[in-house]
């Protein structure tokens, strides 16, 4: 890619990371990360444990601060002051491996808390929005229950609905199915597939390679805090260029 075309594509990008570096104390967790994600694009991020996948997506909504480079979300340059952090977090939803539902709030309250407190919606508006989204993740009839009364798969679908209640432009997923019993993985992946088909911009850290094949526009492989390789799934799985990618794929696909 030429320098000129890279600049244009970055300017239109929903998410742009340029020369991003991140340290935890003396340990450098991200090296020179350059990533541009178009609106509607679906990215699957994979790599061995400790390679920096979580760190990368957590920098995008500033759950982790980065020290060098630049991150832009929508039109906003993500700085370190609360004004831009707030602006970015309103546009970016996140789903965690451990669901992180709020145990003391009902499912409905989990979904309405932030729209009421952060967006300033009325309770009625927020509830209307939440019920619609709970419907979409097929969990509407559980709205009055508490998180502990739901299965892992149901909880994760609520977590997706809760993030969607903020009407984000981007969704980040950090191993959303890794903490689930095998029989619940599919219901969560199906929800994510539907979301992808509706045009959501998504970055998913996952080792579900079937999901990657089905929905990803690009698969990105990370190792030791750097992006090693990125390619459309067909190419990524059949013709990986780097030795580390081949080794990783061998391990992860060999498991099944």
């Amino acid at each position: 890619m030429t320098q000129a075309s890279m600049t244009t594509s970055a300017a239109q990008a929903m998410i742009a990371m340029e020369r991003v570096e991140k340290w935890y104390g003396a340990f450098q967790a991200l090296h020179d990360i350059n990533l541009s994600v178009r609106a509607g694009e679906k990215i699957v991020l994979c790599g061995p444990s400790g390679s920096g996948k979580s760190t990368l997506i957590r920098c995008i909504n500033h759950l982790e601060a980065y020290q060098k480079g630049e991150i832009r979300v929508g039109g906003t340059v993500l700085g370190h002051e609360s004004k831009t952090i707030d602006a970015v977090r309103r546009e970016v939803g996140m789903v965690f491996q451990q669901f992180n539902l709020f145990p003391h709030l009902t499912i409905l309250e989990n979904c309405t808390l932030a729209p009421i407190r952060s967006l300033g919606l009325s309770k009625a508006e927020a509830q209307g929005r939440a019920r619609k989204l709970l419907e979409r993740v097929k969990i509407a009839e559980q709205a009055e229950k508490y998180p502990a009364q739901l299965s892992g798969g149901q909880q994760q679908r609520v977590a997706i609905a809760r993030a969607l209640c903020m009407q984000p432009k981007v969704m980040l997923f950090d191993e959303p199915t890794s903490a689930l019993d095998p029989e619940m993985v599919k219901e969560v992946l199906d929800t994510m597939i539907t979301l992808a088909e509706e045009g959501m911009t998504m970055i998913c850290v996952t080792h579900e390679m079937g999901f990657a094949r089905q929905v990803a526009d690009r698969v990105i492989f990370m190792a030791s805090g750097a992006i090693v390789e990125e390619a459309p799934p067909a190419e990524f799985f059949t013709n990986p260029r780097h030795e580390r990618t081949r080794k990783f794929l061998g391990e992860i696909l060999g498991r099944h």
Binding site: N61, R89, F96, N100, F102, P103, L113, A114, S118, Q149
Partner: protein, 222 residues
């Protein structure tokens, strides 16, 4: 043993004693409310970005936890007038109980806050809530639930330490019973009865805490 029990002075003083029980109860209740406010406020300041505030809270907790409650009461009772503030014994006692209980509550509640997984706060932040909102709407209730048994025993202790406020003649059970005892010399009868009353008051406090807990922490956990 040729000591004859005579509960007549106790029975005659019963209306006073019962009223004093109410005094003790209210003293404890007001002290607890203040202690909770100080406890939660202290936890917030304890983790503030502004370092002097953090040190202030740490210093406050250290001073209170390492000095006798009786001395604290005297200090407040005799030091405040020097600063131009004149408080009656009972408000002074409430202030002292609140400050003392608050220092312990800070440490207890802080433990609760630290027991909440980081993921809870991150989920709140990722949803666009501010730090203060995350604390208020996400962390506080589960944190209080986690430490509620410790808070209950701390507050039963607070209830019992109202008796120390008799030293400045606050209106409570011990000072009223002392008066009846010194008028009648029926020490055993008076303190036997007072002991029973304190037991009932403690038991009542625990019931109130249990009821509150059952109502307020009404969500299931795994």
């Amino acid at each position: 043993m040729n000591y004859t029990l005579d509960f007549t002075p106790v029975i005659e003083g019963l209306p006073n004693l019962l009223l004093a029980c109410l005094g003790t109860f209210l003293l404890a209740l007001c002290g607890m409310v203040l202690a909770i406010v100080i406890g939660i406020g202290g936890v917030i300041l304890r983790d503030s970005r502004f370092k002097p505030l953090r040190w202030l809270v740490i210093g406050f907790v250290e001073v209170i936890r390492n000095t006798p409650f009786l001395v604290q009461i005297f200090f407040i009772y005799f030091a405040l007038p020097l600063a131009g503030i004149r408080l009656d014994p009972t408000p002074t006692a409430i202030l002292a109980l609140g400050i003392n209980g608050g220092a312990y509550a800070i440490e207890i509640i802080r433990g609760g806050v630290q027991s909440i997984s980081k993921g809870q706060m991150e989920a709140g932040l990722a949803l666009g809530l501010h730090k203060a909102q995350v604390f208020r709407f996400i962390v506080l209730k589960p944190a209080l639930r986690a430490i509620f048994p410790s808070l209950t025993s701390q507050f039963v202790l607070l209830t019992l330490s109202t008796s120390i406020a008799s030293a400045i003649s606050a209106y409570e059970l011990t000072s009223v019973s002392q008066r009846i005892e010194s008028d009648s010399f029926r020490s055993f009868e008076v303190y036997f009865t007072v002991t029973l009353f304190y037991l009932v008051i403690s038991w009542l406090m625990m019931r109130i805490f249990a009821l509150f807990s059952a109502r307020y922490f009404n969500y299931p956990v795994k």
